[in-house]
């Protein structure tokens, strides 16, 4: 089905999120919608799928004007959308998620199970109908949503940032499935800020910037040209100089770390000051628990953990903090920042005074400084949940004490646009040059190989020996994550 968006306008208060957008998505193609965060891509596809209504403009399907006011309207017209955070029910089973919605009184479990398995296997997805969605990875939840939308007869499938938070293997599976669906004549709209994904998958691409369409191209085309369209200027990644020193910042011996499903054993690991250690692996392979253990959030089951030579196993989290360890979680709003508090209140919480009353002039000054230095797009009184993902991450970084001996980070640049990601790594590299060791987990293998000095691979309940990152490629890493080491 051909989809045409004609002169779409959408305002959110002052912000002109979609400014006279005209795009045409042709049936049987995979069409990339590229742009950095806040470019208006999500708004545009949410309009098409009925989640938000546009101020003016038209939507035409196969040349006929249609009115889409709700998601149900969109589904009726054969348009389905896969959200960045899958809109599903974590406490229900896969099968129940598949069945939720729709009419009739009784649940036909057997029929639904057959249909679920049939569609899933036609796309080479393996989904256990009886598993709870809360146990699935983001990638599997996406697969479930795709299967569900296809069962509803969707002809136009929209995917909003689908490659964020899924493994390399799942990404390949997803891409293969999407190519197959396009070959069957469906229209695939692939929203992304990741250049390499768009280049690997799409047939054509439309680039958006600040709510407008700035250009489109047929793939293959030169990446530099797309980057320039996205940002209005060319960008270069920071170069990571060797920063590791001789002294050891963090040392683990015979450490046993408990995770939900297995116990992770680390025979010996020494991280030097200024070193960057990347943790690669499928999500849920123990990286998160490893980082939590290294920062004192969960106790070691047994074994020794030394920070700058001092034994720290079984010490409480605040003594880790005092020893210069900082933990930055992946879920910034759940574990990192405090939703409901403003940037200034966050700064006040971290302020280096012990006085009973808040020193507002000092806090105001510190906040202004943090906003300027860290280039946070927000006001001192902006509540953190209103900031974009990139600005939340910048705020987290601004709140980090200085100096630090170890930083433990989960997914430092997940969900961020390229510009923010590069900026954040510049900052982290500067910290390394001061002698801070950085441990970070990421599902982006290019990020791991680009910035790490050494890499640990987590797979199948085990963790590899530290590997020299300069001899690794994303390809080799991908194989090791699959369990070959």
């Amino acid at each position: 089905m051909d989809v045409e968006l004609i002169h779409i306008h959408k305002h959110f208060g002052e912000v002109h999120a979609n400014d006279d957008v005209c795009v045409r998505f042709r049936s049987g193609t995979i069409h990339g919608l590229l742009g950095e965060n806040g470019a208006g891509k999500s708004t545009l596809v949410k309009i098409l799928s009925g989640y938000i209504t546009h101020d003016s403009g038209d939507i035409a399907l196969d040349g006929k004007l249609v009115s889409i006011q709700t998601p149900t309207d969109a589904i009726r017209h054969g348009i389905g959308m896969l959200h960045q955070d899958p809109l599903d029910f974590p406490s229900l089973t896969v099968l129940e998620n598949f069945m939720a919605g729709g009419g009739g009184l009784w649940l036909h479990r057997r029929e639904a199970r057959r249909r679920l398995c049939e569609i899933a296997s036609s796309l080479n997805f393996s989904l256990d109908p009886d598993a709870h969605v809360s146990e699935l990875t983001v990638g599997e939840r996406q697969q479930l949503e795709i299967v569900r939308l296809l069962a509803l007869g969707v002809q136009v499938l929209i995917l909003d940032e689908p490659t964020t938070g899924i493994s390399a293997v799942q990404k390949e599976q997803l891409f293969a499935a999407l190519r197959q669906l396009a070959a069957d004549g469906r229209t695939i709209i692939f929203v992304s800020h990741k250049l390499e994904d768009v280049e690997a998958l799409c047939d054509e691409v439309t680039v958006m910037r600040q709510g407008r369409v700035v250009g489109s191209a047929a793939i293959p085309c030169s990446p530099a040209q797309l980057v320039e369209m996205m940002f209005g200027k060319p960008l270069a990644p920071p170069i990571k100089p060797p920063t590791a020193r001789e002294e050891i910042a963090l040392e683990l011996r015979e450490a046993l770390i408990r995770t939900n499903t297995f116990d992770l054993h680390v025979p010996h690991l020494a991280v030097r000051c200024g070193e960057v250690l990347g943790l690669a692996g499928l999500e849920g392979s123990g990286q998160q628990e490893f980082l939590a253990a290294c920062s004192g959030l969960i106790p070691l089951r047994h074994g020794s953990l030394r920070l700058n030579g001092r034994e720290m196993a079984h010490r409480p989290y605040h003594s880790f903090m005092r020893a210069g360890v900082c933990y930055l979680p992946a879920d910034r709003l759940r574990d990192g920042l405090i939703g409901g508090l403003t940037i200034r209140e966050h700064v006040a919480l971290r302020a280096p005074t012990r006085s009973f009353f808040l020193d507002e002039p000092l806090n105001a000054r510190l906040t202004m400084e943090a906003i300027r230095v860290f280039n946070i797009r927000g006001q001192p009184n902006t509540r953190v949940e209103r900031l974009s993902g990139g600005n939340q991450q910048r705020t987290q970084l601004a709140l980090m004490p200085n100096p630090l001996s170890v930083i433990c980070m989960e997914h430092p640049t997940r969900g961020l646009d390229i510009e923010s990601a590069l900026w954040i790594w510049q900052l982290l590299i500067a910290r390394c040059q001061q002698g801070t060791a950085i441990l970070f987990a990421s599902s982006d293998l290019d990020e791991i190989t680009a910035y790490s000095d050494r890499v640990l691979v987590f797979s199948g309940g085990r963790v590899s020996e530290p590997l020299d990152a300069h001899r690794l490629t994303a390809d080799v890493l991908g194989h090791m994550i699959g369990g070959k080491f």
């Binding site: 149900t72 406490s91 939720a100 919605g101």
Partner: protein, 324 residues
Amino acid sequence: MSGEQLLIVLSTAIAAATPLVFAVLGETLSERAGVINLSAEGTIMFCAMAGFAVALASGSVVVGFVIAALIGALAALVVGFCAITLRQSQIAVGFVLALLLSDLASFLGVPIVRVPGPTVPPLPLPLLSDVPLLGPLLFRKDALVYLSYIAIALTWLYLYRTRPGLTLRAIGEQPNAAFARGADVVRLRYLYVILGGALMGIAGAAFSLDFKAGWSHRHTGGYGWIALAIVIFGGWNPLRAALGAYLFGILQSLASVAQDQFQNVPTQVLTVAPFVLMIVLLVLTSAGWLDRLASYFPPATRRRLLQMLRTSPPAALGKPFEQD
């Protein structure tokens, strides 16, 4: 304790638990839809008074129950309006209603305190009541008790075996996702909150027209709060919640037996004991304790065990639905 005594204890327990069963089913439905009806204590007490007064005036037990259900639904509508339409704090409005309605019940109920009135007549079921053990235990009761059995089964069946039941669980879990799949979240929430309130009203009338037969000052004090606790204990599952209600019935019935046997223990202690024991049980089923228990098992079974035992509240419980 002899076998006969035990049978009496259990039989009393079922009678004592029947009003609670209606209350916990009502609260379960409401909370599954995402709305905490904290007014349970007040609703139950007011409906106990009103149901009895109406039955007394009209001479009909059925009319008493119907009016009680309507009042319960009305109280729930107030909670629903504040929670769903005005998007105000469900806790605040529910709490105020709980206090207001129970005081109002005491005030308006003065003329009917300890007045004898109609009750639900006993109705032993033919054939079934002759079954040894189970007969006297379950089937020599009255229509209301049988209705509570049916209500438990129906609620469970509805929640886990029908499509509207799945939608009900969905709107309390992720209203945005349910909306995306075509559910009218606002209307459904109203529906289940009101239905739950009606069941709570029936629970109130079940106290004054059946189990406690009559009205006196603060006659149902504490039952509303314990119903709220049992819903949590029951993990928002109607079967387990009903089980919790029966457990509380057994504790109560044991306490009254103990009253005869330990005459030197003050009665207040034994009246309060079931409530305290219930709280202890709640603590034992709390997540932290379960985690410690599970940590003694090997990792492979740990996960399955936790999955079986742990219950989590509907994710959107107490949160207003805002469509973006």
